[in-house]
Amino acid sequence: MAQIVGFESTPTRRGTMRTLRVSAHLAWRILVHEKGRTALALAGVFIAILLVFIELGFFIAVPQGGMLVYDHMRFDLLLVSTDYQFQAQPWQFPRERLTQAASATGVAGATPIYFAGGSWQDPGGGLRLDVFLIGCDPAAQPFAVPDIEQRQDILAETDTFLVDDTTRSIFGPLTTGRPVDIDDRRMVTGGRYHLGTGFLGIGVVLMDEANFFRVAHRSRDPVNLGLITLAPAADAGEVAEQLRKTLPGDVQIFTRDELTAHENAYWTTRTSVGLIFGSGLLVALIVGLMVLYQTLATQIARNLPQFATMKAIGYGDASLAAVVAIEAAIVVVTAFFPAAAAAMAVYALIRSETLLPVALSASSVAAVLAATLIMSGASAFLSISNLRRADPAEIF
């Protein structure tokens, strides 16, 4: 008892540490006293954190989907038209710009990528589907995708294409050797590759330049994207700056970071995606806060006589507040890890259902943990006002 009396009256550092230790001990005792209630509180907080993870997953899914194909292309700098909107609407620019860029110091190589919209129809008839066509020079190894890199000889064959293996099932079997009419030209499926369609369309096929020019009725000039690779020692920022000065005004240059920022901004501000999932994320945070607050407030309400008793025997509001805050922190941290694990399972489900590359990055885990700790702090603060009302004289 002497120890507990000392609890309030020593304003030294050691005293504060002891106060915290006693508060933590008390918080722990409250939590293990009624295991059923604590389990319920944990379940509630678990759901709240999971909700935040899910909404965050949706929020990042779309921009990540928009970056999917770029993430599998080999380049240090991307050369595009000044009218460039986003990946599927890149516009075009003169091929000469690539030659000019390639001759700049620090640049190791520059290769064009061609895009076109086309149609896909079985030779026997049936639905005429929209398919996205990619044309490239396989020898320049523009795609960091093993299925594409190992099939250079197949891509070199006349009227042969490779098809993305996430092309939707409405396109029929994507078996090697299947003849398909692409833009009314009879072509042959040379194989599948594993990359993902991103937001290019519901089906994507890839072919070498010669085949692409024939089927899409295009020529070598103009091009849609220019992939620039740098010499080992070159600095991407410096070379980009140099190219901006020397190249004519009909093109612009993105470093990888700038491209990510541009595509993210496109998906979150130009489409309704940012608003829909942004508002979902906001609601998730508010609901999470409310669930936490309700949980804590209920705990306090149930223990109010005990808290009032402690006040009567000399505990101050601050030490009781510390009990509540520590209780909140224990509940949140305990619920966080299973929630993060469950979120991974939900993300896997989103990946398979939507074919978007949702992934739990370390920074998003840290962001959610920080957000939940802030929420637990806020809800502890809100529920402590209930505690102040605990009047020892009134309670009994």
């Binding site: 759901i47 909700l51 929209d130 309704s272 829909i276 609601v283 669930v291 949980t295 209920t298």
Partner: protein
């Protein structure tokens, strides 16, 4: 006083659940706010799910026809896959048809130079003969189509995405590099593929393809049947008169065709269903917390009622009634708040977010379901209440 007399006092005349609900006004506000939040979460998610479909279907829903002839190989309405112009002759020969109007469309080839950034942006284009009967029901199109008789004139969608600058005072701009003149506006809204819509005459449309209306391939023939004639009879005669490469659809079939495509190939619906489910789970937890706290606080009173002879069934009934009332107390403000939320998000995101009877009923059922479910779990405490132990 006998128990029977007291029973008459408390049970039918004193609405115990109601009295409990309104006994503490502050608490009522707190509990209904908690439940309202969960309800709002469900309503918004359900609304998004619906509006996603509505946005993709808005263009076909605004088509003004009884029957539509399209290429049979079309997998969705919003893709260019036209049929030869001379097939119109076969359609016109079918009896009991009041009018046939060709509709032209393009989703991939037209770039609108936005007055905002002076850059070309992909837009959706529809075209028709301004002297033919209207092909769109939408006001702003049907009543302004005469204005499209002039060369290179267009009607634009004022609900297009803002970066296209169609909501401002744009008078003229370039479309695929050619000058076009804005002669009017309508209000349709974007879908998840097209950011904006431009409407023009068949003559202007044909110019972009270096063609003439007489030879321009047709995206869809919009057919009106003579009043009083049997739709299925006309449809049968049409199908018989046309080659198998063409298909005939009624308006509901066309809407269903587009809806099926969206449901099969888009992944938005499961996302919003999952969101609504999360709202339900969160709502159940919140309701449980609220109801449990409420019951705990009134346990002595419930025990007293038990002590004077009330049966568990009566008390359970009262708890469930109170749970339903609490649910309603949260639902009603949430429903009204949601109207404002739909309005604001709908305007910013240009989504057709509307409160519908279906969304109302579904969310109400979910709300009452979660409150009853929570009460059913929490009520065990009342059943276990021992009058002798409470005091």
């Amino acid at each position: 006083m006998t128990i029977l007399a007291l029973n008459r006092y408390v049970s039918p005349r004193v609405p115990l659940a109601w009295r409990n609900l309104i006994a503490d006004k502050k608490r009522l506000v707190r509990t209904s706010a908690g439940i309202a939040f969960a309800v709002l979460l469900m309503l918004v998610q359900l609304g998004f799910e619906r509006s996603f479909f509505d946005a993709s279907l808005s263009a076909v829903r605004e088509l003004d026809g009884d029957l539509f002839v399209m290429n049979a190989s079309k997998y969705r309405f919003g893709t260019r896959n036209p049929f030869a112009h001379n097939e119109l002759n076969a359609i016109k020969k079918v009896t009991d048809i009041a009018s046939v109007a060709p509709l032209y469309g393009d989703w991939q080839d037209f770039f609108w130079t936005s007055p905002i950034d002076n850059k070309p942006h992909l837009v959706r284009v529809f075209a028709f003969d301004p002297d033919a009967p209207p092909v769109f029901l939408l006001s702003g199109i049907a009543d302004q189509q005469a204005a499209l008789r002039g060369d290179d004139t267009v009607l634009i969608d004022s609900r297009s995405r803002r970066f296209l600058g169609m909501d401002g005072s744009v008078r003229e701009t370039k479309l695929d590099g050619e000058m076009v003149y804005v002669v009017g506006k309508f209000s349709l809204g974007p879908d998840f593929m097209s950011d904006g819509t431009v409407i023009m005459s068949d003559r202007t449309f044909a110019k972009f393809f270096h063609s003439t209306p007489a030879t321009l391939p047709i995206e869809a023939a919009v057919i009106k049947v003579k009043p009083g004639e049997d739709l299925s009879g006309v449809r049968q005669r049409l199908t018989a008169a046309l080659p198998s490469t063409l298909t005939v659809m009624t308006k509901p079939e066309l809407v269903e065709f587009e809806r099926n495509f969206q449901a099969k190939l888009s992944s938005a619906a499961p996302i919003f269903w999952l969101g609504a489910l999360v709202g339900f789970v969160v709502g159940t937890l919140i309701s449980y917390q609220i109801i449990f706290t409420e019951l705990s606080d009134r346990l002595p009173q419930y025990a007293t009622l038990k002590g004077i002879g009330y049966k568990n069934a009566f008390l359970i009934g009262s708890v469930l009634r109170q749970a339903l009332l609490t649910g309603l107390a949260g639902y009603i403000p949430a429903w009204f708040l949601c109207l404002a939320v739909y309005r604001i998000i709908g305007d910013i995101a240009l989504l057709p977010l509307h409160m519908t009877l279906q969304v109302t009923l579904m969310s109400l059922a979910l709300t009452l379901g979660m409150c009853l479910f929570a009460a059913a779990i929490a009520v065990r405490r009342v059943i276990a209440a021992d009058p002798a132990e409470i005091f």
